[in-house]
Structures are given as C-alpha cells and as structure tokens.
C-alpha cells in the first residue's frame, strides 16, 4: 500500500512539469486569443466607420461624440487636475529636500516638468480615466447587452460597433491628450508653489528652468502616448462591455475586469514604449 502511494507520488512528480507547462500554455493561448480579439474589435470598429463614410454618411452623430467627450473629458478635468496637483506638490517637496543637501534644488522644476510631460502625465491620466471612464463605459454597454438593447440595435441593421463604440473610442482618443496636458500643467504649477515656498525659486526663474529643460521630443512622446492610451482604454472598456455574459453579476465582473485590464495594459504598453523609445531613439 505504502509502495503504491510512493509510486503515485513519483508519477505525479514526473507529470507535474508537464501539467505546469500545460497550464502556462493554456494561459498563453487565452492571453493571445484575447489580444487578437481586442485587435480585431478595434479594426472592425474602424471598418464599420469607413464603410459608413464611403456611403456618404456620417459614422455617428456629432451630438453623440460631444456627449461622450463632455462626460469622459470635460468632467474628468477636476479629478485629473487635483490628483496631478497633489503629485506635483509631493514630488517637488521630496526631491527638493534630497537635492537641497547637494545644493542642487534648482533641478526641481526640470525634474518635475520632464517626468510629467514625458511619463507621469499620460500614465497618471491613463490610470485615472481607466478607472473613471473605462468602468462607466463597460457598465453602460454591459447593461445594454444584458437587456438585449445591443442585439436590438443589431437587428435593426445598425452596426453596433460604429453606433455605440466608435463615438466613445474617438471621444477618449481625442480627449486623452488634452487631459494629460492639463495634468502636466497642474503638476508643474504645484511644483512651482513648492519651489517658491521651500526653495526660494521665484516664478520667473522657475519658468526659465522649466523652459530650459523641456524638450519638444518629450512633449511629442507624451502626447503620442496619450492618444494611444485613450484608444486602448476605450477599446478595452467597450470590448468588455459588449462581451458581458450572465446578467447583473456579469456586468460587475466585466467592469472589474475592464478596469484591471485597462490599468495593466496602460502601464504595460507604457513600459514597452519606453523600452523601444530608449533603445531606438537614445538621447
């Protein structure tokens, strides 16, 4: 009996790497499938829009675009500005104290402005919008999916991707760079207050330092990233919303999954972008 047990344990141990490999394989397969369907989701949305434009009609109503732009963009301004303001304050304060020891606190304006325009502005805005707007897009479309509204739209012969997804996607695509610019300005303004109060850097001098350290390519990088994040967040949120299964609980799960996926993707894509950027366009 004891021998038999030992045998089966050994057998399991021999099998274990195979099982682990299978699990990893399965996970990888699902991941790639998901990435693939997300990619085609974006492609089909643009396809439906282009078909519509070819027919000589607008892909969606301007009202619909502006409604989403107001909700996703304009109404996010206070949140983005406030969070960036706090982060700007903290960053200037903490780095300033460290730099002061070496007598280089006048590097603070450059540090804050470079890190925000190039990195933190778009990233922070992306994370905040993924939570604020991604969740609402997923919940809204998910509820429509559950109550057969999406199917009804499809049954009328209206493309749900162009009618429901396109205005949301484009609204976030165009509004995201505006919001990350607001984030940049807000953080730089905050650091100017700290610089003045703690490190005696007057505003005009602060502005000079900022201007000296800012590079056009950093600004362009930041804006480009923001466009990309906007598109990704909206696509993930809408995709999750339209694929809801299983009633109210399904909407809840999809919303959580949408926010988690969007935040992870934003940070992941940002890292990937930076690696490519640093390797191919070294300073």
């Amino acid at each position: 009996m004891a021998e038999q047990q030992q045998d089966s344990t050994e057998e399991a141990l021999i099998k274990a790497p195979a099982i682990a490999l299978q699990e990893i394989g399965g996970f990888g397969r699902n991941f790639l499938l998901e990435v693939g369907s997300m990619f085609w989701f974006i492609v089909h949305t643009f396809e439906e829009m282009i078909e519509r434009v070819r027919d000589g009609r607008v892909p969606f109503r301007a009202v619909s675009f502006f409604r989403h732009a107001a909700r996703a963009g304009v109404e996010s301004v206070p949140l983005v500005a406030l969070v960036s303001f706090f982060l700007g304050l903290t960053m200037a304060l903490l780095t300033g104290y460290q730099l002061q020891r070496f007598g280089t606190e006048r590097l603070v304006p450059g540090l804050v402005s470079i890190s925000f325009t190039r990195e933190l502005g778009p990233l922070l805005t992306g994370i905040m919008l993924a939570a604020r707007i991604g969740a609402s897009f997923t919940a809204e479309l998910g509820t429509m999916q559950v109550s057969e509204e999406v199917e009804a739209i499809e049954a009328m012969g209206i493309g749900p991707l162009r009618f429901l997804v396109a205005p949301r996607m484009l609204a976030l695509f165009f509004l995201m760079p505006c919001l990350s610019t607001i984030s940049n300005i807000s953080a730089i303004f905050a650091s100017s207050l700290i610089s003045k109060a703690y490190f005696s850097i007057a505003f005009p001098y602060f502005l000079d330092l900022v201007r000296d350290s800012l590079l056009i390519r950093d600004l362009i990088t930041g804006v480009f990233k923001s466009f990309m994040f906007g598109l990704l967040i909206a696509a993930i949120a809408c995709y999750r919303g339209l694929n809801v299964k299983g009633g109210a609980a399904g909407v809840g799960t999809a919303t959580t999954s949408s926010v988690v996926t969007a935040i992870t993707v934003v940070i992941g894509v940002d890292t990937l972008y930076n690696i490519v950027y640093v390797n191919f366009f070294p300073t």
Binding site: R57, S147, E148, E149, E151, A152, I153, M156, G157, G159
Partner: protein
C-alpha cells in the same frame, strides 16, 4: 440557384447547438407571404433561436436560412445589415434603449438608416405611435412605461422601416389578459392592414389561436406539426395533444427531472 425559395423566410435542415445542447436538430420551416405563423413549444425549446437565425444574429452549425432570395447564412456583414432593415423584431422584454425617450427610440432606425429630415421622421414616428396608440407617451422614458406600453412602443419601432417580415418574441408574455388581447388585435390589424408577414413565438395558447393563420410546434429541435389552426387543434400527435391540454401525463415530461420529482 435554380431552386430559389418563393418563401419569405425559410430554414433548411438547420442545426443549432449551444455547448452540448442541441437546440435545433435538422429543423426545417418555411413562411409564406402574409402568413401569421405561430411557433409554439416549451420554454427553452429553441423558438427564439429560430427568430435569431432569421435575423442572422446567430449562425446555425449547419443547414441554411433564407430571407426571400437571400441566404442569410452566407451574407457579408454589410449586406446582412441591409437585409435586416426589411425585418422588424419585437423582443420579449421590448429591448427599448433605456437612455432614449419613446420618440427617439422609434426614430432611431430612421435617423440612422435613412436620409429623412427631422420633420419627415417626426411624421412617420407620430404615425406609427398613433397606430399602436402610444402617441401621448412620445416624450416619456422607457422606465416610466408599463410592460404593455413598452411592447407597443417596441412594435412601433419594428414597424417604422415598413418591414416585410415582423418577428415577435413572446409578445404577450407577462401581460394581463386584457392588454394581451389588445396586443394580439394590434398584431392582427397591423399585419392585415400593411400586408406584412409575421412570425410569432409564444407558448400562450389563447393568444396563439387568436393570432395565427398557421401553427407550428417545435419539439426536441424539430417542427413536429405545421398546420392551419383548426387542423392543428385536431392533431393526433401525442406531443401536440399534451401541449394543447397542458396535461402532465404524456411524452413531454417523460424522462425529465420534473417527471421524476413528481413521481
């Protein structure tokens, strides 16, 4: 394409399987112009699936589905969207867009799919809402309407593109008998007036015999009886007999969990 079907809609040997459950099993059915075909069957027997196959929202695992001369199963997305404009669908739970008021719900297909001006759209919307007796509720939101009112608005929305075929998914389920009769009469008068063909899915006997000019019974994925109402009533098929009488004794419950529990 020599055997072009003269029917408005047709299912040919359609097989539809969800996971391991075969909902339709070589199901064939055809609908002639100006028919009011009632499809009856147990809950979950795949009646609504037939409607979704005709709309092209679901694709059969095998077999084909036709709407007029179009083979729905082979149409590209764009063509399918154009064909769908000739079909209206009234959902069981109405499926009105909850963020738009009644007027905007009914106007949606016109706004999105035609080049009509706002005034023209308003005229058509008024006309259709008047047909279903909902003109006064024009500015109300769907959440403010009762089940029967929602159904009527949903019917107006299905009618707004002047379709050739209207699909009704349980049009009277969950409504009180009086409103159910109102909806039934509405379906009859509308289809008679505008010469539309309709397919009605229901398991409510009374309403089925009131509306139908043809009845079909779906059982275990197949149409087991397809006849005029009078002939249908006289059917000797044990499943149809049991379904019509609502008895618990018979082939329908045999072997099912319910029957075992009952015994």
């Amino acid at each position: 394409m020599s055997d072009k079907p003269p029917h408005i809609a047709e299912l040919r040997d359609a097989v539809m399987q969800f996971d391991d459950k075969k909902v339709l099993d070589d199901c064939s059915l055809s609908v002639e112009p100006e028919d009011r075909l009632v499809i009856m069957g147990q809950s979950g027997s795949g009646k609504s699936t037939i409607l979704r196959l005709i709309l092209g929202i679901l694709k059969p695992n095998s077999g084909s589905v036709f709407f007029k001369q179009f083979e729905i199963t082979r149409l590209k997305r764009r063509k399918l969207q154009q064909v769908r404009r000739q079909i209206g669908m009234v959902y069981q739970y109405s499926a009105l867009l909850s963020s738009r008021d009644v007027r905007d719900n009914v106007a949606l297909p016109l706004e999105e799919l035609t080049d009509k001006s706002r005034a023209e759209i308003d005229k058509v919307v008024d006309e259709k809402l008047d047909l279903v007796g909902m003109k006064d509720a024009k500015n109300q939101m769907p959440s403010e309407l009762s089940g029967g009112m929602k159904k009527r608005v949903s019917l107006a929305r299905a009618l707004v593109m002047d379709p050739e075929l209207i699909l009704f998914d349980e049009p009277t389920a969950g409504l009180d008998p009086v409103i159910a009769s109102v909806i039934d009469e509405l379906i009859i008068s509308l289809t008679e007036k505008s010469k539309v063909t309709s397919i009605i899915v229901t398991h409510e006997m009374e309403s089925a015999f009131r509306i139908g000019t043809r009845m079909a019974m779906l059982y275990q994925g197949k149409i087991i009886e397809d006849a005029e109402p009078e002939t249908f009533k006289q059917s000797q098929n044990p499943v149809v007999r049991q379904f019509l009488s609502g008895s618990t004794e018979g082939p329908i419950l045999e072997g099912s969990q319910d029957a075992i529990a009952k015994k």
